[in-house]
């Protein structure tokens, strides 16, 4: 297996981790966002929270592992994205912080004020991160202002940290934030429909339908933006070369982010599948009332959206707006061949094990969570 193949595999694997994060942590974030609206009483909110309470922590590890994998496989991307998006990353961390205590502490004191406080803490911790991730993703298309000096030290070209942060909030990136928020919330809504009953289930179904449709519309608008945007095209880029981004040349082309779809029309299937799956997920959940199937379609839709973005950017992963040549691609921002191979072996061994026990615990905890069940055996639930 040569360097080029390993690098491509790692592009796929980072994508898999991001998709895994969006699907797994996404549904419990969606539940956290919708819980105060879908659950009208404490028991109903407990039903919502308990549908993900045994799993949220395991799901969050997709986020941590994605971070670790980017560090190991794409150290330049890890260093550049996290330091150049400093304030945005802090905002992600500080809101994600809220989730653990909200899940674990809410049930520890039986007091309505205590509980409703944690409900809103969970709401913030669930609703804000997807928006921020979406905004960050959107900014990849626009590029981030940084360059390298001759010792490969990153230098920010933003006029000031605050200005740098505010510059992240463009119409396109906010749109991306809303796409992410809507798709995650719809996904959580479908999951809630699957795990609850009665009036609460119907409320969840309606919320899911609204957010599914919004996702489709906003994703389509995003496509229009992309077509009219400058995209990057790399030349003299050696897939087997050393990980020094400064060795390539980069040009900006109007609509450049669509060149992959022009050169390889088969990739157009990805956005098509994304739209189809999102539509089917809305239909199966709302009209056919088959929320299990809808959840699968929704997962495919999320994977499709993320892949659509990934393929548009390919081979770029972190473009620079101020110094296009400093842009990082999946060919020239990776670890050494040896590290990529070692990491691949670890991933091949452990990923199937993780997927196996994750499905096992979901199977153990499956079934409808009714308010009656929770009332009857209050100590067994959060």
């Amino acid at each position: 297996m040569n360097y080029e193949v390993l690098r491509f595999i790692w592009w796929v694997l980072v994508g898999v981790l991001l998709i895994g994060f969006a699907i797994m942590d996404g549904h419990d974030m969606g539940v956290g966002t919708l819980s105060p609206f879908v659950g009208k009483t404490d028991l109903e909110r407990r039903a919502a929270i308990n549908s993900v309470a045994p799993h949220w922590d395991g799901n969050q590890v997709w986020f941590i592992t994605a971070g670790g994998a980017v560090f190991a496989a794409w150290p330049l991307v890890y260093a550049a994205s996290f330091s150049m998006l400093y304030i945005a990353i802090l905002a992600v961390l500080w809101t994600i912080f809220l989730r653990a205590p909200a899940f674990e502490y809410r049930a520890k004191i039986d007091n309505p004020k205590w509980k409703s406080t944690w409900d809103w803490v969970l709401f913030v911790g669930s609703a804000v991160p997807p928006i921020l991730f979406g905004v960050a993703f959107g900014n990849l298309f626009l590029g981030i202002p940084f360059h390298y000096d001759d010792t490969m030290r990153l230098v920010s070209d933003a006029s000031s940290p605050v200005a740098g942060f505010l510059a992240l909030l463009s119409p396109f990136s906010i749109l991306c934030g809303l796409v992410a928020f809507c798709m995650i919330t719809a996904h959580g809504g479908i999951y809630l429909t699957l795990r609850t009953e009665g009036e609460m289930q119907e409320r969840a179904r309606k919320y899911a339908a609204v957010f599914s449709l919004l996702t489709i519309v906003l994703f389509a608008i995003g496509g229009v933006f992309i077509a009219h945007m400058n995209g990057y095209v790399a030349t003299q880029l050696d897939p087997n070369g050393a990980s020094d981004p400064m060795l390539k040349t980069v040009s900006l082309i109007h609509g450049g982010w669509l060149t992959n779809y022009e050169h390889y029309p088969v990739t157009l299937l990805i956005p098509v599948v994304a739209f189809g799956a999102l539509f089917l997920s809305a239909m199966t959940n709302f009209a056919l009332k088959k929320s299990g199937l809808a959840f699968i379609f929704s997962g495919i839709g999320i994977a499709g959206i993320i892949l659509t973005a990934g393929v548009s950017l390919f081979p770029f992963v972190l473009p620079s707006s101020s110094s296009p040549v400093s842009s990082l691609t999946m060919w020239d921002a990776t670890s050494s061949e040896y590290t990529l191979a070692a990491m691949l072996i670890a991933a091949v061994i452990f990923t199937p094990i993780v997927l196996t026990y994750t499905s096992w615990v979901y199977k153990i905890m499956r079934g409808k969570l009714t308010t009656a069940k929770i009332k009857e055996n209050s100590q067994a639930y959060y």
């Binding site: 592992t65 150290p75 030290r153 990153l154 400064m246």
Partner: protein, 516 residues
């Protein structure tokens, strides 16, 4: 620049120390829960199940903030130490990624099952879940200490001038790095001690209050026995770690011991001294003859290299590193056309890190003056004073806890309720494991200065190109959020610990039982 480094270090220290309030307790309590639940599965006695559930609730309150503060640790290398991440990510990222895949998933998937699957699975299956949480948390410690062990003793890597970074050349020497292995065992067993002290002291409090005696005495005994084994292991592994520091990090060792000049064998051990970094002397020193060689080399023939001699030797490496770095900089100006220089640079790259030490005084290393070289050489050994005392505090507290466990284990079945002095001394030692863990980490990290990667990358070269304002903002944010979380955590923890097993809502543990 200096402010930036100081602030970045401060933020790392603060967030790491907050994190390490929760981690050692998780490491230790997880195994104590396995033992308690194992007793339940083996004997069928309901009281062991109640113990598992009650201590499990305290475990959960602690675990939530452990997870939260751990997130920062995973991302802080990228946010605040970007050049470090670039320079050594090829090696350092690997254990972190494997930690996620192998350990965090396991621990976090089953911790939810520990709390919420009691009604859904068999006794044995639940015990399996608890065990997997414990194994997961230990694996996580393994990989993080493999990463940290590599920072202390960077094996299995080579410098690549083309990518301008260190690259992994042998995964197995990183994993089986003896420094990492000793550190791992020293750290996890310190965690077991922390968990044991936690259970032991809270149980001692119930026994003193004559509250839920049966429940408290059983918990006390388990904690005492487990803690005794763990504290013996901590001391043993601490001694092993010391031997490795002697070999791998002579500057850290000399600073811990306050040894300015190389001693003849057998070297004495300094019991009490005041190392003064400005004059390079000890203002006073009380020595125990022979003990230094005995402790540090397990023989009478070992000598301890002094700080002055280490600085002299490092000066030569700095001068050599200066030459190597100048070559490297020449190459970096135009890598495409200078490719012919690569083999020579690769062969002469051992002291590049020492050359980088000069960068804190001048941007152009080629023109560094002899005075700068001298100053850089002096910077290669950290200030001994704080190391001298934190190390001794750690050892003192470690031995005190060992004695507490030994007496507690001995008296656990011999009328422990009447051993008021022993029970009260347990209460006094409640903060000891945390203080000694912090001291231990301080010795490990401050003792490695001026390096982030020993001998390879200086700390002042490792940080991100942020502004001081950025870090002041984030530091305040972290301190504020962490403090709020800590206050809530402590509030819940004290509330639950005070109420005791009554929180389980069972009639055998009610308030009336308090007098029994």
């Amino acid at each position: 620049m200096d402010h930036l480094i100081a602030l970045s270090r401060l933020q790392f220290a603060v967030t790491a120390m907050y994190h390490f309030i929760f981690v050692p307790l998780t490491l230790g309590l997880a195994w104590l829960l396995v033992i308690m639940e194992g007793c339940y599965v083996a004997t069928g006695k309901e009281i062991y199940k109640d113990m598992t559930k009650f201590w499990g609730k305290l475990f959960g309150i602690n675990f939530a903030i452990g997870v939260t503060t751990g997130l920062t640790m995973e991302f802080q290398f990228g946010t605040n130490w970007a050049y470090y991440s670039h320079y050594v990510g090829d090696i350092f990222g690997t254990p972190l990624a494997i930690e996620g895949l192998m350990a965090f998933f396991l621990e976090s998937t089953f911790v939810g099952m520990f709390f919420l699957s009691w009604e859904r699975v068999s006794k044995k299956q639940h015990l399996l879940f608890t065990t997997l949480v414990a194994i997961g948390s230990n694996f996580s410690a393994l990989w993080i200490l493999v990463a940290n062990g590599w920072m202390q003793n960077p094996l299995g890597t080579t410098f690549n001038p083309v990518t301008m970074r260190m690259e992994l050349s042998n995964f197995w020497s990183v994993l089986f790095n003896p420094v990492a292995q000793a550190k791992f065992l020293h750290t996890v067993t310190a965690g077991y001690v922390t968990g044991s002290i936690f259970v032991l002291t809270i149980s001692a409090y119930y026994i003193l209050k004559r509250k839920n005696l049966e429940f408290a005495k059983r918990s006390f005994k388990i904690a005492a026995l487990f803690g005794l084994c763990a504290s013996i292991a901590v001391i043993f592994m601490g001694d092993k770690s010391g031997l490795y520091v002697y070999n791998a990090q002579p500057t850290k060792l000399a600073a811990i011991e306050g040894v300015w000049n190389t001693t003849d064998a057998p070297a004495p051990w300094s019991l009490l001294a005041w190392p003064d970094n400005s004059t390079h002397t000890n203002l006073f020193s009380v020595n125990v003859p022979y003990l230094g060689s005995l402790i540090l080399t397990h023989g009478l023939h070992g000598t301890i290299t002094g700080i002055n001699q280490l600085e002299e030797a490092n000066k030569l490496r700095i001068i050599n590193g200066q030459k190597e770095l100048v070559k490297l900089q020449e190459y970096r100006k135009d890598p495409r056309n200078n490719a012919a220089m690569v083999p020579e640079i690769e062969q002469n790259s051992d002291d590049i890190g020492y050359g980088l030490l000069l960068k804190q005084y001048t941007t152009n290393v080629a023109t560094a003056t002899p005075a700068m070289v001298d100053e850089a050489a002096r910077s290669t050994v950290p200030n001994p004073l704080p190391l001298y005392y934190t190390f001794r505090a750690m050892v003192f507290l470690g031995i005190s806890m060992f004695l507490l466990f030994a007496f507690s284990a001995y008296f656990a079945d011999k009328g422990i309720e009447n051993r008021t002095k022993l029970l009260k001394s347990a209460l006094v030692l409640f903060p000891a494991p945390w203080i000694s863990c912090w001291c231990g980490w301080f010795v490990a990290e401050y003792g490695r200065q001026p390096w982030t990667i020993y001998g390879i990358l200086p700390t002042h070269q490792s940080a991100s190109s942020l502004t001081a304002g950025d870090i002041i903002f984030s530091l305040f944010g972290f301190v504020f959020l962490y403090t709020v979380l800590l206050v809530v955590e402590l509030y819940l923890m004290t509330k639950y610990a005070k109420e005791g097993p009554a929180v389980l809502g069972k009639k055998e543990y009610t308030v009336e039982n308090m007098g029994a």
